[in-house]
Amino acid sequence: MSKPSNNLQMVENSEATKVPVRIDEHIVEIVSDSGEGAQKAGQTFGTVSAKMGNGVWTVEIIPAEIKPPARSPAGASGIRIRLGSHNMTNMGDAADLVVALNEQVLYSRIATHAYKPGTVILLENKWITDPDPKIREQYQSAVAEFRENGLIVHELAMEDECLKLTPRPRLGKNMFVLGMLSYIYSRDAEKANHEIDLTFARKGEKVVHLNQQLWKAGYEFAKENLDYWYEIPPWERETTKPLIVTSGNQALGLGVMASGMDLVSMYPITPATSASHYLAEVFHNIGGFVHQAEDEIAAIGFAIGSSFAGKTACTITSGPGLALKTEFVALAVMAEIPLVIAVVQRGGPSTGLPTKVEQGDLLASLYGEPGDAPKVVIAAATIEECVHFVIMARKLAETFRTPVILLTDANLATGVQPYPRPEAKAEWFASPIDQSPWDKGVDPFQWNEETGLSPRPIVGQPGGEYVLTGLAHTTESKVAYDRESNQRGCNMRSRKLAALWSTLKPPEIHGSPEGELLLVGWGSTLGAIEEAVDKARAEGYKVSSLHLRFLSPLEPGLEEIFSRFKNIFTIEINYSDEADAPLITPGNRRYSQLSILLRAQTLVDVDCWTNVHGQPMQPGLIYDEITRRLNAMKGES
């Protein structure tokens, strides 16, 4: 077996002393047809790594089609695990090492730039002897092509090895792969076998045993046949808090529970639905209820009804569902109904890219409703924030008597990461509903003229009887068509945002507070942006970044911060015209969503750098753009 000639640290030099090569991080993938258990193996690998103290980010590779044929590029199914000696905040750039159960699935990974010259591919080799000559031919030409492109391909007889232990290797091969990876990355055998135990316990002793044997076989096989042996020391965390490992959608579900929400009302839609699936399993344990409505309109209507009746409610959806909720969101604004609307963004417009990531719903969240509909819009930037932002959103919704749109996206939704176990605090729960008599002297919309805030009567409070309406209305909630009432209501609803704004702190700058270049981001790109900025800064580039959590109202101090940088651009996963594309001029260029907000508010020439690839932002690409821009600026001056 040929030695790898890649640009990674290699094991050669260490062999003499028989210690593994110490590396800071690696990106590993397991790719196969769906149904081969790659995801299970990867999740277990991730969990073991997290338990060993590594920073970990895992993300599933999901086939694009309902049922793609076996051995097809469209069928690539699997998982990426990024692990290292520091916090992992994103899926990173190209993979370092890949285990592939057939060669065809690799094509779609290559098409999404998941690999680079030097990426090590551990490839199942049984296809070389396949009875079907077409398959044999496919296999050979693919391997040749991969090698030509600089991938380090090791053809391995994994299936043969598994057959020694089980007649149905398709079902057990994933644990064999786990064993291989466990050797390569020096994973703790006990921890790994404990996880296998947990996974298969339900299926009985025998199954557990077989899988542990397969694990061992993989481990030994790698040890004997591969020259890759690494050690990834644990991340030296500041905190010794216990950790939990969840996806962003599970985190959303935990946030719903930790906020003491009563009800989640939803209609299934990718990629939001898995949050509801999780809640459907556990929400009743904490007294909550998941309502699956007949459509998205009914889903939000149901939540609004519940909230009107004093029970805290949330609806979870994605783009097309948000579109359908538009009319009800406007009602919630107009009638000041507290409501959390979690939007897990996917690629748009229309049905778009249902399983892929985009940050394309920002402007629709702010401006989707006809008329003026001021509301709070916040975006979680990490999986951990998916927990805490629900709690914040519920609290904001009630304090400001308003709908709150909480944006996450498919990248956060499907990413999995260890993070400090959130607390369980009674004060985070919604307070029990007030049923005491209402002071009849207080109107149902007795706005504080300064802040727009008003106390809210809850159905059941004697004396508080009022009729909520989506028409323009007086403080008494009486329909009113006169100019003063309408102007006043609009003022008050808008004023609430100013009141919230005045409680916000200016955002913290990552890097120095001044410099050549400032990157501005929001949402799930945080980790990738900061990683890129750190790398560039380490090389002496004068770049900083800023990440917004509040989009409506925008966080304060931006103009002042912007004045300290020569050049500013947003990084977003959404559409913008490239400045140098055909026909595009400054007069007609369509900017990205956040940059439109920032330009209009600050009048600073905030540029944007975006794409709609449906992929999480990669730190390497951002780094390239930073250096490109800074070098160009140097050239100019």
């Binding site: 529970m257 009800l263 007294g287 007949e294 939540a303 176990r421 159905v459 059941g460 009486k478």
Partner: protein, 315 residues
């Protein structure tokens, strides 16, 4: 006020509510509009049943009829066109203690609200749903509604409505979990009262289609029924709507109909303009019995559950 509870124990109510307690403002419907009569009946039932105003919610969509909540002294929700039912269901979902009334129109419920209507019947949540069926869009000034008679000249069909009207009764009867379907007329306050009262007494989703006169835009639609009661089929049965003698005299055309007989109900609804209780099954489960589970869980139990949820992901 004193009242005897079912178990003969004495219930001392602290407050007695008069009609005025269920009234707010002056109803702004046209003179002669059937909505006035329905409002009065609803208020009378509230009074007769001594519903707590603060525990009573009138929910509506948009339309003339959907203005009803504004004229009630209770809580109210005057929401979006076609969307009264999801809101009403949401209100009930975690607050089964509330008495929920819904006022909706033939456009609101049977046109833009169709999907919610069908599914709300299926949820069978305990609420009294009054469809003010005036066979026209009133508020927006005379457009065709799903129940507009074919040939009727509306502003959207000045050459005459092109379609046979939808029969909301046969459709409703076809929905699983249907538990209470009745039809009544605004111009007979006695039958109106008894029907809405029966609907309110039923635990479950009670749909009452009310043939409601709109003298301004669909004056001629119910005239023949008003003038000639024999064109209506009065349903009689001991399990049906309570009928005074006067009613029996008024409606010569009658049929004894057991409201548990679905097949017959369907045929009656298909072939007549019935007045009375078409179907009633008190035993259909109510969705709020599921959706409200856990609503009173204590904070300590919740903290335990939350920690257990975290534990599931602990490493």
């Amino acid at each position: 006020m004193f009242g005897l509870k079912a178990d003969w124990s004495l219930d001392i109510k602290q407050r007695y509510f008069s009609l005025g307690d269920y009234t707010a403002g002056e109803a702004r419907w046209c003179p002669g509009c059937g909505d006035h009569g329905v409002l009065t009946v609803v208020q009378r039932i509230c009074r007769d049943e001594q519903l707590l105003p603060e525990k009573t919610v009138a929910v509506s969509g948009i339309g003339c009829s959907s203005r009803l909540p504004h004229y009630m002294g209770t809580y109210g929700f005057h929401g979006l066109h076609g969307r009264a039912l999801p809101v009403a269901c949401g209100i009930k979902s975690r607050r089964p203690d509330l008495d929920v009334w819904v006022a909706t129109g033939d456009g609101d419920c049977y046109s833009i609200g169709t999907g919610h209507w069908i599914h709300a019947v299926r949820y069978n949540m305990d609420m009294t749903v009054l469809v003010f069926d005036n066979s026209v869009y009133g508020l927006t000034k005379k457009q065709t509604s799903p129940t507009t008679p074919i040939g009727f000249q509306s502003n959207t069909h000045p050459q005459g409505a092109p379609l046979e009207p939808l029969n909301p009764l046969t459709v409703t009867l076809g929905i699983s979990n249907v538990s209470f379907v009745a039809q009544t007329i605004d111009w007979n306050p006695v039958h109106l009262y008894e029907t809405i009262k029966a609907a309110h007494n039923h635990k479950g989703f009670s749909l009452v289609n009310i043939l409601q006169r709109c003298p301004v835009y669909s004056d001629n639609v119910f005239k023949h029924l008003q003038e000639d009661p024999s064109q209506l089929l009065l349903l009689t049965h001991e399990k049906g709507i309570h009928l005074e003698k006067s009613l029996l005299r008024l409606f010569p055309n009658q049929q004894e109909h057991d409201p548990l007989n679905m097949s017959e109900a369907y045929d009656i609804a298909d072939q007549n303009v019935p007045v009375g209780l078409l179907y009633h099954n008190p035993d259909v489960p109510c969705y709020e019995d599921i959706s409200s589970q856990g609503k009173d869980m204590g904070i300590d139990d919740k903290l335990v559950a939350l920690n257990a949820a975290y534990d599931q992901f602990a490493i």
